[in-house]
Symmetry: C2
């Protein structure tokens, strides 16, 4: 394994793959067999196809749980095939479409109450996946926001964390993300996406969601989007940011090349100068004082993509924030998923429960 882009992808994100549900042996086999970054997408898509074949074979035999579980793994493989891989954008799009399709199969088999939401948004459409906790009437709702290179297809097991604690989830492809990103770009005022989503849900009383108890959780760059959403959307009652930056413009120059290329792709920047200019707008300066809701900031001091001082600034400038800094945590704390995931789920359940009183 010699290609520095493969090194960057595995060194920065390996634990993220497994905490989202990729089998560790799959991860080891695929990445150790790669020599050129150019081959990354095909290798992961082949793994996705393998799991999709397992899914189809299981379903033919009536083994529906096994089939659904296999579709989750297929979706993750297709997703991670392209997440920071911008070598061939036709292949990127094809893998994205396959991930979307795999999650639809997952929902059909594992969670028939899941619903794909297609929301008119500035002449295009914004797409999100809604799931509801079994046996809970009028549950609170948590918006799960992806970051720079994550999408709603990465979040099936992340959604489970909140569903298991009695909350409904909407994983949102916002501006510049996933399917919505087919027609939109990253923007500093990302909150327009979640606000449009909540407006849409307000007209869907048939869903039986308690929109007086809405929380927002964002990971990585979503940790910038989440407090922005809280600042400008009073329907949000609690907010959690995990691994988020205070001011993204300070970071873009030091990113691994594959991450910078990903930002350029999703932001529509024509060159590095334009990318820097867009990133410079993405700051929480002046925004955080407006985040008056309870705000949990989770961060890992060993984060190599976002210096931990960003989290200290975020928590320091918001009036109602609590900072949980894990000394051993990496980016998004995915090397200690058993700490941050239950914490985010429990904290959100407690705060959305209280909001109902």
């Amino acid at each position: 394994m010699s290609d520095e882009r493969i090194e960057a992808a595995t060194a920065n994100w390996a634990p993220r793959f497994t905490s989202q549900g990729v089998d560790p042996s799959d991860f080891g086999r695929i990445t150790s067999g790669l020599e050129r970054w150019e081959d990354w997408l095909d290798a992961w898509c082949a793994n996705g196809d393998m799991h999709a074949d397992l899914a189809r074979e299981a379903e033919e035999r009536g083994r529906l749980l096994s089939a659904g579980d296999a579709w989750v793994r297929a979706a993750l493989s297709y997703h991670f095939a392209k997440f920071v891989w911008m070598v061939d954008l036709d292949k990127h799009r094809d893998a994205s479409d396959r991930a979307v399709s795999a999650i639809r199969e997952t929902h059909r088999l594992l969670d028939p109450t899941a619903e794909r939401l297609e929301i008119p948004f500035e002449g295009a459409q914004m797409v999100a996946n809604l799931r509801r906790p079994p046996g809970v009437e009028r549950p609170p709702l948590v918006l799960l926001l992806p970051g720079l290179d994550s999408t709603k297809e990465e979040f099936f097991r992340w959604e489970d964390v909140f569903l298991a604690r009695g909350m409904a989830t909407v994983s949102l492809d916002g501006p510049g993300q996933g399917e919505t990103g087919y027609h939109t770009h990253i923007r500093a005022d990302y909150e327009v996406g979640p606000i449009a989503l909540l407006d849409h849900l307000a007209g869907r009383s048939d869903l039986d969601l308690d929109l007086d108890r809405v929380g927002v959780v964002g990971v990585s760059l979503g940790g910038y989007y989440a407090p922005r959403t809280a600042a400008f959307e009073p329907r949000v009652k609690a907010v959690c940011a995990i691994g988020g930056a205070h001011s993204f413009g300070e970071l873009i120059a030091d990113r691994p090349s594959i991450s910078r290329e990903t930002f350029m792709h999703h932001s529509g920047a024509k060159d590095l100068d334009e990318a820097q200019a867009i990133a410079n707008e993405m700051t929480l300066t002046g925004v955080l004082p407006k985040v008056t809701q309870p705000f949990l900031v989770i961060f890992g001091r060993q984060d190599r993509l976002v210096p931990y001082e960003h989290a200290e600034r975020v928590a320091g400038e918001a009036p109602n924030a609590e900072l949980v800094m894990y000394p051993e945590g990496n980016h998004v704390c995915n090397n200690i998923p058993y700490k941050y995931r239950p914490l985010a789920g429990d904290w959100m359940a407690e705060h959305l429960g209280e909001a109902a009183r």
Copy 2:
């Protein structure tokens, strides 16, 4: 990492840790930080203590799901601390007791219908953990048999595979295993354990188990115990062996030293000659023709602990056996858990369902 015993433990069993529920980052951090096999137990027990602390802290805050999940991880850490570690038998026993205690906490928090069974057995007691699938009346029952170095405390997530498919489970510490092994030794006629268990359950109609639909699944050396049980116990209606040997005596000399020491400990052999003599008795020759039940043999051709030809002999000598040989599979196929685990669960559900007609 220089100690050949650490190398042996990680090279042969790494994927087993994660497929049973150890976090891959925990595994990497602990094993890469070790230089001497002597320190293995303390390092894993410290990890168990860390998860136990997370569990207690979560429970104090009323976060019961998080607490229960943390106890599962604590149990696995304590279990793997000692599984093939025979350096200090007092420490071995202490870690075993902590694993047992952690699983009791797990049951209390995650599965209050779980029941610890203590069965009089040849002057001592045999211990097993019963769990039942939610919402299923009079479910079929699957006995889950450990092998040389596994115990019922390793099986909480393995039990979930069968519970999710509508079957009750009993994870059994049989002769020479886990708590039962405190007072008993490995024996070639292991089936006396499962038979005593089924006799005991026959007197427990309050449990509402369908004892006309009993299956047995064994992993590793349990893949020898399972067909033995089927051969001598007609109440068993279907049997599955994963990674099992045909004749253990052929293998003991080539085992890694830590595995051989583990066999000597659990068999009570005073020296290698006696260990070899005991292992020689552990053969399925002459037994397999009696296994007339449907019999699924799952095996990985890359197994370095049991040559794959053993599985071919097992399947060839049993009248009603089906062999699934995965070309890429390692010992117990734990590098492809997403293949063998759903297969074992689905196959067993289908066969125990049919037996009910």
